[in-house]
Symmetry: C2
Subunit: 135 residues, 2 copies
């Protein structure tokens, strides 16, 4: 069980973290997730951490990294189900999880992602329509 | 982490089993799941076992139990992401998982459940319309 399963839900990918993360598992998850974003043309990533009673700086950084990688691949990341104690710990650790969006549950996260996708489709600012930025 | 998270996805509940199941964890999952089916008015349960490399008779029985309990509570159960080796083992163990529906991935399972819900709404045979069966 040295892999965290990634479930495809329409245009989004869902990851439920239930086990203690160590270096290698985190790296495997990042690799798997970025590959799946590309292969499945995913527009969003939902990371459920409701099973985690403790989130240390390592996991905090991993979440930030995943969000940053996903953003480069044009997928939004939403962290779901954070426990109150975890939020307290993260702030006390000085980690504000900047760049990571959070939602109370999976349904709200899906709504959030669907709205984000709809907006990016309506306003094609995310596509390099004019080449000024790459000249 | 002595609880497996249950995620609500519309009218369905999603459980991703990633850790070794022992007696107590299985009982907790059954309790949590049946409570959530009732409290969330869930119409279906998706159990993702793609992370499990080995499914023994204990887990096989647990899946059967969950499906039977859910059915009594008017919710369908679909087991998702079974590995080929697991299917071989289950048959060799003499467990055909009768009463448990399976699907290749979460999306297919969702389609299956949505179709099942639509059918049961169209044909209200599942409701005790006439009292002959309880006389």
């Amino acid at each position: 069980m040295e892999r965290i399963p990634i479930l495809k839900m329409g245009p989004f990918l869902l990851v439920s973290i239930q086990v203690d993360m160590h270096d290698r598992l985190a790296l495997t998850l990042q690799d798997d997730l970025t590959s799946r974003i590309v292969s499945d043309h995913a527009r969003g990533v939902l990371i459920d951490i409701s099973a985690l009673e403790v989130v240390d700086s390592f996991i905090g950084r991993m979440l930030g990294n995943i969000a940053a990688m996903s953003r480069i691949l044009d997928a939004e990341t939403v962290v779901v189900g954070m426990r109150p104690a975890v939020a307290i710990t993260l702030v006390e650790l000085g980690m504000s999880l900047s760049g990571v969006r959070t939602a109370l549950n999976v349904e709200r996260a899906m709504d959030m992602l669907q709205a984000a996708v709809a907006t990016s489709v309506a306003a094609p600012g995310s596509e390099p329509v004019n080449g000024h930025s790459t000249d």
